[in-house]
């Protein structure tokens, strides 16, 4: 395996230590300020009126009574959002999702909003808005959406990727294909072929903090917004575009974020708050209720997936095929396509083909959720992989090791892999004590591996030396899991100063260049890269200042352990100039000392994980209890091992929730039945065991410290790992996620019958 040899076994002074996070004290004392924790003088309360119908024409909205209510300062509808999107379909969909235009497309779709002096008045005003709906038939299930007689959501969707392009519009947004080789020939070579269909239900990111923002727009066009987001620059850009504002006039400050996992990568109610504020000329605070979060933000796709895998008796997979059907909610997306790319990415396959079919349904607009689209297809593929291994009588770990992708493998989505970590995670799983531990009665062990792309993206970092010789770092990527600590570690390491000498803050959109949002596991990867470059630029300046002071050439000054040192026979005996000394002398040596970096952190490298799960199944009730769980994943280099573990554990817990209980339940009327944490059941503390982690460190050659993104991959394997454990515990093959007790009990009864 090729890798950056300089990074292997390299030891660091502060990187890799478990320092205390800089936002820790604020977060344990209640001082940290989240989206709903800010206030502005004279602020109004914003509330949104939402469609109770899954699909309806909005014939008329009468806001006159609401506007007349004492204390109401603004009422808005789609009429307040002229279309500035200039033919950009993606932006137009965002606009229409934020505020319904001609039709309400799902239960929860915003149709109007009010700003009033207090919540009670705002609630009263909502009741006074009269919306005249013409209810249309709706479709909420993926497989139904493709049917010829399905209710049509949009009249301008003509399936992309089919030749010739259909002339009739449908809910079928897009078809795409990936793969290589000849699967028919491959299946002919197979001794065993397993072919199955799977379903997964829609889940939500389930972050604990509802969306909230405080918007203030002045009549001169200057605007401010405080908001919880995974990407304040992206929110700025999109809000400005939708509202026809100049991006520079809208200054967005990110609050602490109470979880996002992809759900805070899109704008939802923020443009409404800005529009209300613009109309009322007062600050408007708009906070979603939990019910609104479930009904009107961006959950995942529910899916329907067919998988067919063939293998020889010696364990070689000869061909693999999958057809994936996903929805984008009420608006077009590429969600099935991403699943088609990632589904077989763990394996070295001679013949592989995936076909994706994306559709729209009357559900909220799908957003990314941690390694989007991949847990679903991984469930289908890895469940089938286990069945194939069983059919040929091979241990599932050995079967996977035999077929694992390696450097030089042509990936199922096209390109040939460079150095990758799937093999090492599988080997580590095989040798993990968990694999050999005895199992209790009615308990089964399952495993699965998973893949996710990581990416880097646009990133800026400003690093400034304070006059007293400490360091501030301003970044534009949101800290969702401890990246401020990781970035301080990197800067301290580069500079050779203690961790405590570096303070990292997230800058607002007016004080730093554009940054992409914290998604795609890019936060620490890309910001740490930019922070390294910014620090190196500052170090060059520090060396220049020292050279000036010493009146010696720059190339005779090096930077080591937090100080400039003169080298060479002539000057080597000089006492080093410390950061503090150089900073103190800065006014006379050229002024403030800073380093900047504006980069595109491309080439993040792909990520793999292998999970092992023990599950106990109560065969009389169908209830599954996870009794032991292990995550093995490559981190490249774990900057802060505790936070890397935290990402692994958190992703695994989310995946376990998805596997067992989490799902959107729609009634026949197209309304969401469980829009709350009572019946949308995310795991509670007593549901889970400790989640063991093993961090592999195979350095990423494209990062100065070998870092890889770690945030997302850990949610990919759990659905399948749990399913395979359930199969081994109870003998049932679950092809429908979540594997809720009624579904498992039904399968057990069917098995007995």
């Amino acid at each position: 395996m090729t890798m950056n040899p300089d990074l292997v076994d390299k030891t660091y002074k502060v990187i890799g230590t478990r320092v205390r996070r800089p936002d820790g004290v604020d977060k344990v004392t209640g001082r940290a300020r989240y989206g709903a924790d800010a206030s502005a003088p004279g602020q109004l309360v914003g509330l949104v009126l939402r469609s109770p119908h899954a699909h309806a024409v909005i014939k008329k909205i009468d806001i006159s009574k609401a506007e007349k209510l004492k204390g109401v300062k603004a009422v808005i509808t789609s009429a307040d959002f002229p279309d500035h999107t200039n033919g950009d379909r993606g932006l137009r969909d965002i606009l229409e999702n934020c505020m319904a235009r001609k039709k309400a497309l799902y239960d929860g779709h915003a149709v109007a909003a009010v700003a009033a002096v207090d919540a009670r008045t705002a609630r009263e005003a909502l009741k006074l808005i009269k919306v005249d709906y013409q209810i249309l038939p709706h479709v909420t299930e993926v497989d139904d959406a493709f049917k010829a007689n399905a209710p049509l959501l949009h009249d301008d969707i003509f399936t992309d990727g089919i030749t010739p392009t259909p002339t009739k519009s449908s809910n079928f947004v897009k078809q795409a294909e990936y793969g290589h080789g000849d699967i028919d020939a491959g299946f002919r070579e197979a001794d065993v072929i397993i072919e199955k269909s799977y379903k997964t239900e829609q889940t939500h990111q389930g972050y604990i903090e509802p969306h909230s923002c405080l918007a203030s727009v002045s009549p001169d066009g200057m605007a401010e917004m405080w908001v919880c987001t995974q990407g304040h620059f992206v929110y700025r850009n999109q809000c400005a575009a939708i509202l026809g504002m100049d991006a520079n006039k809208l200054r967005v400050t990110s609050s602490e974020i109470g979880g996002g996992f992809g759900g805070k990568t899109h704008i939802w109610a923020e443009p409404l708050a800005l529009a209300l504020s613009r109309k009322a000329n007062r600050p408007v605070k708009l906070t979603m209720t939990r019910d609104e979060v479930f009904r009107a933000t961006g959950p995942t796709s529910s899916t329907s997936i067919d998988v067919k895998i063939g293998a020889k008796k010696d364990g070689t997979i000869t061909a693999a095929f999958a057809e994936l059907r996903y929805h984008g909610g009420a608006f077009p997306g590429n969600w099935a396509e991403f699943g088609a790319m990632t589904g077989f990415a763990c394996y070295d396959l001679k013949n592989v083909k995936t076909v994706s079919k994306d559709c729209v349904v009357n559900r909220p607009k799908t957003a990314a959720y941690r390694a989007p689209s991949t847990p679903q297809v991984c469930f289908a593929v890895e469940s089938t992989v286990d069945e194939v291994a069983r059919a040929i009588g091979m241990n599932p770990v050995d079967f996977r090791i035999k077929n694992a992708a390696k450097e030089g493998t042509k990936s199922s989505y096209g390109p040939v892999y460079g150095p990758i970590g799937i093999g090492p995670t599988l080997e580590a799983a095989k040798n993990h004590p968990h694999m050999k531990a005895p199992l209790a009665k009615d308990t089964g062990r399952g495993m699965a591996c998973g893949f996710w792309f990581n990416f880097g993206g646009q990133t800026c970092v400003d690093m400034n030396v304070t006059p007293d010789g400490n360091v501030t770092v301003a970044v534009g990527t949101i800290d969702v899991g401890g990246s401020r600590a990781s970035l301080a570690l990197v800067v301290a390491e580069e500079l050779g100063v203690p961790y405590d000498a570096v303070r990292v803050v997230v800058a607002d959109t007016s004080t730093l260049g554009h940054n992409d949002m914290t998604d795609g596991s890019r936060g620490t990867f890309s910001s740490s890269m930019a922070a390294v470059f910014a620090t190196r630029n500052a170090i060059k300046t520090l060396r220049e200042r020292a050279a000036k002071t010493w009146e010696i050439p720059l190339d005779e000054v090096v930077w080591e352990d937090g100080a400039a040192r003169a080298v060479g026979a002539q000057h080597g005996n000089r006492a080093p100039l410390t950061l503090k000394e150089i900073a103190a002398a800065a006014p006379g040596s050229g002024g403030p000392i800073a380093g900047h970096a504006e980069i595109v952190a491309d080439n993040a490298g792909v990520s793999f994980a292998t999970h092992i799960c023990d599950a106990h199944v109560d065969k009389e009730t169908g209830k599954t209890t996870i009794t032991r769980y292990t995550v093995i994943q490559d981190a490249g280099k774990a900057m802060h091992p505790a936070y890397v573990e935290g990402q692994y554990q958190g992703g695994a817990a989310q995946g376990i929730g998805w596997a067992l209980n989490e799902e959107y339940i729609y009634g026949a009327n197209g309304r969401l039945q469980n829009a709350g944490f009572l019946d949308y059941r995310i795991p509670v503390c007593s549901d889970l065991p400790m989640i063991d982690t093993q961090i592999l460190e195979i350095p990423n050659p494209h990062h100065p410290y070998g870092v890889r993104g770690v945030g997302e991959t850990s949610i990919v394997p759990p659905l399948a790992a749990v399913a395979n454990a359930v199969t081994n515990a109870a003998g049932v093959h679950m092809n429908h996620v979540p594997m809720s007790p009624p579904r498992i009990l039904k399968a057990i009864k069917a098995l007995k019958a």
Binding site: R18, R20, R21, D23, G24, V25, D26, K27, V28, T29, G30, R31, A32, R33, Y34, A36, D37, R120, Q205, G206, Y207, I208, E209, P210, E256, I257, G258, G259, G260, F261, T287, T289, R290, V480, G481, G482, A642, Y643, E645, G646, Q649, G650, G651, A652, A653, Q654, G676, F677, L678, I682, P683, V684, C685, S686, L688, M690, I691
Partner: protein
């Protein structure tokens, strides 16, 4: 109808006027500036708004402000002893028991209530004692370990 209430919050005498139907959570956050308690659901399902009311752990979203007359509330803002963090607070930081941190105040209040009742809890006691608090970031592992470490420290 508004109600005039005199109560004790974190040991301090506090007076406020609130709507008769206004939850304690809204009073704390919007009238008293105590925004440490968070509204994650408003229906008692997430525990992010947990406070201790007359010695009992409650969701402040399910208590009316009007009920508070003459009663005593502990919130996250009163947990540290001046500049010295409570052992639970310190252990949450040291054990990386928080990521986004929005659930953290609620967890700390719940852990506080648990350890007062049961200074030497088993892992199972901790897990069930904290089951009313949702965390979506951590998978609970490090939270449980932090509470174990704090309990040990507090037992001395």
């Amino acid at each position: 109808m508004s109600v005039h209430v005199k109560t004790t919050i974190n040991g301090d005498q506090v007076e406020f006027v609130c709507g008769a139907d206004e939850p304690l959570l809204d009073v704390l956050r919007n009238r008293l500036g105590l925004t440490g308690a968070k509204e994650g659901c408003g229906t008692g399902d997430c525990g992010a708004c947990s406070v201790i009311l007359d010695g009992r752990l409650v969701c402040s979203c399910l208590v009316l402000g009007a009920e508070m007359d003459g009663r005593s509330v502990e919130t996250i803002e009163g947990m540290a002893d001046g500049a010295k963090l409570h052992p639970l607070q310190q252990q949450f930081i040291d054990n990386a028991a928080l990521q986004c941190g929005v659930c953290t105040p609620g967890f700390l209040m719940a852990a506080q209530a648990l350890l007062r009742k049961n200074p030497d809890p088993t892992e199972e006691d901790i897990r069930f004692g904290l089951a009313g608090n949702l965390c979506r970031c951590t998978g609970y592992d490090k939270i449980v370990r932090a509470v174990q470490a704090a309990a040990k420290e507090m037992r001395g």
